[in-house]
Symmetry: C2
Subunit: 551 residues, 2 copies
């Protein structure tokens, strides 16, 4: 058997290694257009930022190590330019000497990946405008920015943010411009807003709800025109506005495409039975929405590759069920992560959902180093969990991993209450943030609490804001000013109930939400109309501050 | 309605708070024998170690805060000495003035906890011998050790280890004596051995497979006689040899007991319908073995308390299904954690199981700060996961939490392959250690690999050890010396296959296990008899070193 693999990064390299471990005799060839095989593409920004000091650390394997360890023939700087499905033959060009040659195959695995989008902006081809896809791009950027100072990163997704953080780390002046009103579109606004404010504290300029319309090369700098009419000068521009799948090869040989990428069945097989496809170019099933889309992430690519290899070797037995799109980014001292669908997406799909935001400590508050985690979960009255988002300084990855596992396993939102997570003071709490999120979600479903979102306060008629924090926690600058306001510390609430009016609707809050909830219950059980602020003042204040700063 | 709660720490305090949030009008009384209510018992060792600097941080609530925030009547230094089930009345003694009084109830919640075992050892009542259960114990220990130096901790479980670490942290000379041949009995020997060696590196003396038989007070020190015939002098002894449930009150009033603790049904209700019981004194269902036993941990106690409160208020609707016994400890720079059943327990229960040990990086190896996680999972051919154990410097809590969630959800071991966990270089790898554990487990089930445990090498007849690490990784002191040995680096293995003999059985290994596995596949597919070393040299060398040091 002879298997040819097109593309030698994440998916391609994994499929090749798996096949070899299954069979010593299969002839395996990897054809990779770039100079490197199996490099650490997620590490590229960190070498630019000098966090990863040695360039060699990113080159995980070479054609030599593939040959020696796995007896795989890796041909870098070779490009597959045509697939002949009928004759099971590919046309390849050696990019070093331009020679053309042919290679036949029994099975083909397409792992071409996705390339950074270069939007059609006038001047985008100017010197000093870069994308970051591979080691060569990284080398070029690293060299070019050496004596340059002002850098514009276009796009505020995961890569853009990581890029910006790294550039700031080596002392550059960095601005991110993003068309949306927020960074990190996989999370909702109020979660992203905590990051916006953190970026601001760290000196990273955010230019939200704005876009580049034109780039002009002038002397030594790039003059950038924005859609809001402003213009600014930069030395370097790095485009990170997303990726598009490399589907041309598949298209040209007549493989079926979906709406977004190469179409595959659940065995990772294309419309041609001996051609499999994996990774960023492939359209896969979103596990929650059931919709087919692109989920260009390394984790899913690796898993698809392993499954494709198994199916080629054993016959189609293993199914790839789809992905949740779990993702994460470190941003200075904070972490932001999400899994599943967000509120924007659920709204667009017209799915009924409930949102609950809880803020709790990363570990026992009395043990040093505890920090706040804000966790948003989306679910419905049947307990189905649609997704989760979290932001904080520590332990965010753990909580999203647990919820991702819960979603994958089909657990209900109330099952989160009973998860038995590791607890000792340095690691968590007897009631972990995930348990706590489950408690609150279940309270909402059972009607034990009704929450109001940070941006919906004005919609409540005849409302009074009831701040239940202690006097020494509040001042004129850290309270909610949207209508009548009263401060009664929780410990004094019962004896002051007579100050409250039954024909008003109270909105209770504290910093994190727990005291607000207890106050809610006191009022509710005493016959008052009341809501608790979803996520407490932490969420409210971050969202409002961000709105004000980026309007 | 009037609810009286016996015991005001974790379970009792949680049940009280939950009840109040459900109803403003219930009369709720907590009767607590000790001086403090709702204190952070898991934090006590850390205040002794001066990690938690302020004693007040451990006192989470006081009778006053309970009164003010929750309108709950907390009576510390009051002890319930008798329960009259028929008349629904308890007899209480005020420990301050010795006065006796009675209190009736509609519902009673027992949350008496468990007390440290004081083994019947001659001299155990001597001055200088302590247990650590509550704030008073902590204060006494903290005061007593001030000008004392040499401390013996008796018992190498979680509390003993945390105690020892903290005492070392404030400059004491510390030794742990433990009857078993290992610390941390929830994990198996080879996992514990990594901690043994770490303790040794940190200057914590371990005295394993030994026990205290007698304590003699001599002048200013305590002379300790051990079961191995030795004797040593210490200034202080801290007993942490486990806990026994406080079941006397339940027993005396005729409530049914199980083999180990107070018997409750799945609603947390005792044999008397208006008496519920929660926490360390209660016998609960082990979710995997199905056996009833004590799982004295804060997480389960809190969840049981919430359920008991809900069931009292709403009628019996919520079931407590049981616990996995997920637990964790920080030990100097390392973390050790486990969930479910271990190998020793499975053997004792005569359950067929498979063990797989994998070692992988806590996050992408090319990003700074990656460290090794050794993860052991226990499962069977049907994919059922019995338990998991892990040890490492970072990210151990996350992986055990994910597997705990997977077990709770009934996922199979092969489902671990497809979990979609957060990946960016600072947090994980595209193939997370949990995915990787799933891959290897599934390989074992499918027969793609056969592993041999570190202590079973000698059982393989006619074997040859095949070290596939590179020449520069090995020296005479870091190889396996149990029979014939040959070193062929993986990259040279294929061309040297002719050096191997078909009538021998090869045992392949490398440091972490991956290269050993690839070598296994090469040999297997070429017709050789072969095993791969379970967990690689890291596990083998730690276990052997520990055995040698503590024999």
């Amino acid at each position: 058997m002879k298997v040819v693999i097109v593309g030698g990064v994440a998916g391609g390299a994994t499929a090749a290694a798996r096949l070899r471990r299954l069979d010593e005799k299969i002839e395996i060839i990897i054809i990779e257009r770039g100079e490197h095989v199996s490099f650490a593409n997620c590490g590229l920004p960190y070498h630019i930022g000098n966090i990863i000091k040695e360039r060699d650390q990113l080159l995980l394997e070479t054609p030599e190590t593939f040959k020696n360890k796995l007896n795989i023939d890796v041909r870098t700087k070779n490009e597959v330019i045509e697939i002949n499905k009928i004759d099971k033959k590919i046309k390849v060009q050696n990019l070093n000497n331009k020679n053309i040659y042919f290679e036949n195959y029994d099975y083909l695995i397409l792992s071409p990946g996705a390339k950074p989008i270069k939007p059609r902006i006038e001047g985008i081809q100017s010197e000093g405008v870069f994308v970051l896809r591979n080691v060569e791009d990284m080398d070029n950027i690293k060299e070019y920015i050496k004596n340059r100072e002002k850098i514009l990163v276009v796009g505020g997704g995961f890569i853009g943010i990581e890029m910006a953080e790294n550039l700031l780390h080596i002392g550059k002046s960095v601005e991110i411009v993003e068309m949306a009103d927020q960074l990190m579109t996989p999370v909702d606004y109020e979660i992203a807003s905590i990051i916006h404010n953190h970026c601001n504290d760290k000196g990273l300029k955010l230019n939200l709800s704005n876009a580049v319309t034109k780039i002009e090369k002038e002397n030594n700098f790039l003059k950038v025109l924005f859609s809001n009419g402003e213009s600014k000068n930069f030395d370097v521009i790095i485009m990170s506005t997303g990726v598009i799948p490399e589907k041309e090869l598949a298209l040209n040989c007549g493989l079926e495409l979906g709406n977004t990428g190469i179409k595959v069945n659940e065995y990772m097989q294309t419309s041609c039975e001996n051609i499999y496809a994996v990774g960023d170019a492939v359209e896969i099933n979103n596990l929650i929405s059931g919709q087919k889309n692109l989920i260009p992430l390394a984790g899913p690519a690796n898993k698809q590759a392993r499954i494709a290899a198994n199916n080629i070797y054993y016959g189609n037995k293993e199914k790839y069920k789809g992905a949740l799109g779990t993702s994460i980014a470190k941003i200075f001292d904070m972490t932001i992560a999400s899994t599943g669908l967000n509120e924007k997406r659920l709204k667009a799909m017209k799915i009924d959902y409930i949102s609950s935001i809880t803020t709790s400590k990363s570990h026992a508050g009395y043990y040093p180093g505890a920090s706040l985690i804000t966790l948003k979960i989306l679910f419905n009255r049947d307990g189905k969990i649609f997704g989760a988002q979290a932001v904080g300084e520590d332990g965010v990855d753990k909580r999203i991993d647990v919820i991702s596992t819960a979603i994958k396993a089909g657990l209900k939102v109330w099952d989160l209450e009973e998860l038995e997570l590791t607890y000792a003071p340095p690691f968590g709490s007897a009631k972990d943030p995930v348990n706590y999120a489950g408690f609150v979600a279940n309270n909402i479903i059972k009607g034990d609490i009704e929450v109001i979102d940070w941006d919906k306060i004005k919609e409540i008629e005849n409302h009074i804001i009831l701040d239940v924090r202690n006097k020494d926690e509040i001042n004129d600058n850290n309270i909610i000013k949207e209508g009548s306001f009263i401060n009664i510390p929780l410990s004094e609430l019962r004896k002051n109930l007579n100050m409250l009016e039954k024909d008003k609707t109270y909105i209770t809050y504290c910093t994190m939400g727990l005291r607000g909830y207890i106050a809610y219950r006191i009022l509710k059980l005493n016959g008052y109309k009341v809501y608790n602020l979803n996520g407490g003042f932490r969420v409210y204040s971050n969202a409002k501050k961000s709105k004000k700063m980026h309007k």
